[in-house]
């Protein structure tokens, strides 16, 4: 089983996109990041690595301070720190399950959210479910560390229905990738 290395990917990778100095290097990495994102959700993370200390600043956002871990049909559920759209959990789907008749996008945007139960940051992939009209239930727009179009994997306005048979937006899931 491949293990997810949060120092090589995840938050640090995303930070590096903005903080590096070699332009060519950054460009090629950014290109890779765009397409590598869909692979993230499939890599388990070991407890040892996930157990690293809380890495601010996002630990202290207003969202993180009031987030809960009990009800994933509410906007303040901890994984939804950067979600925008209808929660699939309110639409007949689940936290990582698209409602019947819709199709999960193979690519996604991501967020780095704090689980209040252990105080640790996890990387979350927001996969849109596509191919049906907007669900309309439980509309949320949380924006912890959400950025603009030039950093698209951290932007929550884009309709992430690439690679699906229809680009109609139905709802959004919040899949655990691993520790961030």
């Amino acid at each position: 089983m491949i293990r997810f290395n949060p120092d090589a990917a995840g938050e640090k990778l995303l930070r590096r996109l903005a903080g590096g100095t070699s332009r060519r290097g950054i460009l090629s990495r950014l290109g890779a990041a765009l397409v590598a994102a869909p692979v993230f959700p499939l890599l388990p993370v070991s407890r040892a690595e996930a157990a690293k200390p809380d890495r601010s600043p996002e630990a202290k956002t207003a969202f993180a301070r009031s987030a809960q871990t009990k009800d994933d049909t509410k906007c303040d559920y901890w994984r939804y720190c950067a979600i925008d759209g209808s929660l699939c959990t309110c639409c007949g789907g689940g936290i990582h399950t698209c409602p019947a008749g819709s199709e999960p996008s193979p690519v996604s945007w991501v967020g780095s959210c704090i689980n209040p139960d252990d105080g640790k940051a996890y990387m979350i992939a927001y996969r849109d479910c596509c191919g049906k009209p907007t669900c309309g239930q439980c509309g949320c727009d949380n924006i912890d560390r959400e950025t603009q179009l030039y950093l698209p994997q951290l932007n929550n306005n884009i309709i992430w229905c690439f690679g699906t048979s229809s680009m109609e937006y139905h709802c959004s899931t919040a899949m655990m990738i691993g520790a961030a």
Partner: protein, 387 residues
């Protein structure tokens, strides 16, 4: 771009491949990456409401009457009509699309969805249909589910017959001056007409015979709501007029329309009439009545007002025992709902909704509000009819 697209495609394959890897449950792996999946629906259930979004909406949300939760959505493009296969295997959507959304080539067809996967199975092209929202009687299924009757208006009236077993359009029958289709088991279908009659179309292979009842209502003075309820088991239709005159129709080759009775008189009040200035309780809304078939109770959205207020939202829901011709319940209701439906099980749960897109689920036995659902949709409500 080419290079990146290739990488993207590789990533897609990677996703598919890893999906077959068994999850690792070992204690030292806590934050296991999750897999994307797609849920499956149950077959249509008696306690589900199918709620159309507001004007221009493209979906019908399904809510469980017990939990008040949304369990799925059927794609119903703008001004389309939804019908539920009596066997519970399919959803049928009669719809109209243009090749460029609001321009281009017009296409009319019935989309067939598998009721469990909600995947589109096929489309059955038709010659056209009436584009209008909010009516239940433009697209109806025969009791056995094998034939669909799809009303067309262009602006001449006709009815398209569709063989749902073979999944193909059969032929159109001209029907000037009539609309609001009621299935007529073993015969074909009937329809309300502008001359105050009920037309019955006996479909016989490639021909048909159209007969008319005697005139029994005044289509201009006291119209009968187009959203007629039909009871498959009793082979009976229930007609409600703007003033609150209620009639039942025993369907058949020569349908028998009962004498009317007044919903107000059934509640001990004087009957309402067609004269403005008089104040009375009137039915109102787009879908102003719902028939609970097992108990033979008609639930009607009622408001105080003058005549010609037939779309007005409700202040009360009235429960009318059709056999006894007695008003058995009055339930006050908030939000001026304009649509009502009731589940066809013993729970007999009512849903109402209105212009604000919110829905309320009410226990018809106690009048108790069970669930209030924001943004549920403000359009037509459908339920599974007992076979």
């Amino acid at each position: 771009m080419t290079r990146l697209s290739m990488v993207a495609r590789v990533a897609l394959f990677a996703t598919a491949a890893v999906a077959f890897v068994a999850p690792v449950m070992a204690e030292n792996v806590i934050a296991e990456a999750e897999e994307a999946s797609v849920s499956t629906m149950e077959a249509p259930k008696a306690n589900w409401f199918y709620v159309r979004g507001g004007w221009g909406s493209a979906g019908s949300s399904i809510f469980d009457a017990g939990t008040g939760k949304m369990v799925g959505m059927v794609s119903t493009s703008r001004d389309s009509d939804l019908a539920i296969d009596p066997d519970g295997k399919f959803y049928y959507v009669a719809e109209t699309m243009w090749s460029k959304v609001n321009r281009g080539t017009r296409m009319d067809f019935v989309s067939v969805y598998d009721s469990k996967s909600l995947k589109l199975i096929t489309e059955i092209p038709t010659p056209g249909r009436l584009i209008v929202g909010g009516f239940t009687t433009n697209f109806v299924l025969s009791d056995d589910g094998k034939t669909a009757y799809d009303y067309n208006f262009d602006p001449a009236s006709s009815v398209n017959i569709i063989d749902m077993a073979k999944r193909k359009f059969v032929r159109a029958i001209e029907l000037p001056g009539c609309a609001s289709l009621i299935v007529n088991p073993g015969v074909g279908f009937s329809a309300l007409c502008a001359d105050g009659t009920l037309a019955t179309v006996a479909v016989k292979g490639a021909t048909q015979e159209i007969t008319r009842s005697a005139e029994f209502f005044d289509a201009a003075a006291d119209p009968i709501y187009s959203n007629v309820a039909y009871d498959r088991k009793k082979k009976m239709a229930v007609l409600l007029s703007y003033t609150g005159q209620v009639r039942t129709v025993a369907m058949g080759a020569a349908p028998v329309v009962s004498a009317p009775f007044s919903i107000q008189e059934a509640g001990g009040m004087r009957a309402a009439d067609v004269k403005p200035l008089d104040i009375a309780w009137y039915p109102g809304g787009m879908q102003p009545s719902a028939l609970h078939r097992p108990s033979g109770t008609l639930w009607v959205l009622m408001h105080k007002g003058e005549y010609w207020s037939h779309k007005e939202g409700a202040e009360e829901i009235w429960g009318l025992d059709l056999a006894a011709k007695k008003l058995i319940k009055r339930i006050p209701v908030k939000g001026h709902p304009r649509n009502i439906e009731i589940t066809q099980d013993d729970a007999a749960m009512i849903m109402v909704n209105g212009m604000e897109n919110n829905a309320t689920i009410i226990d018809s036995k106690t009048g108790e509000v069970k669930h209030e659902i924001e943004n549920a949709g403000g359009g037509l409500i459908s339920v599974v009819e007992p076979k």
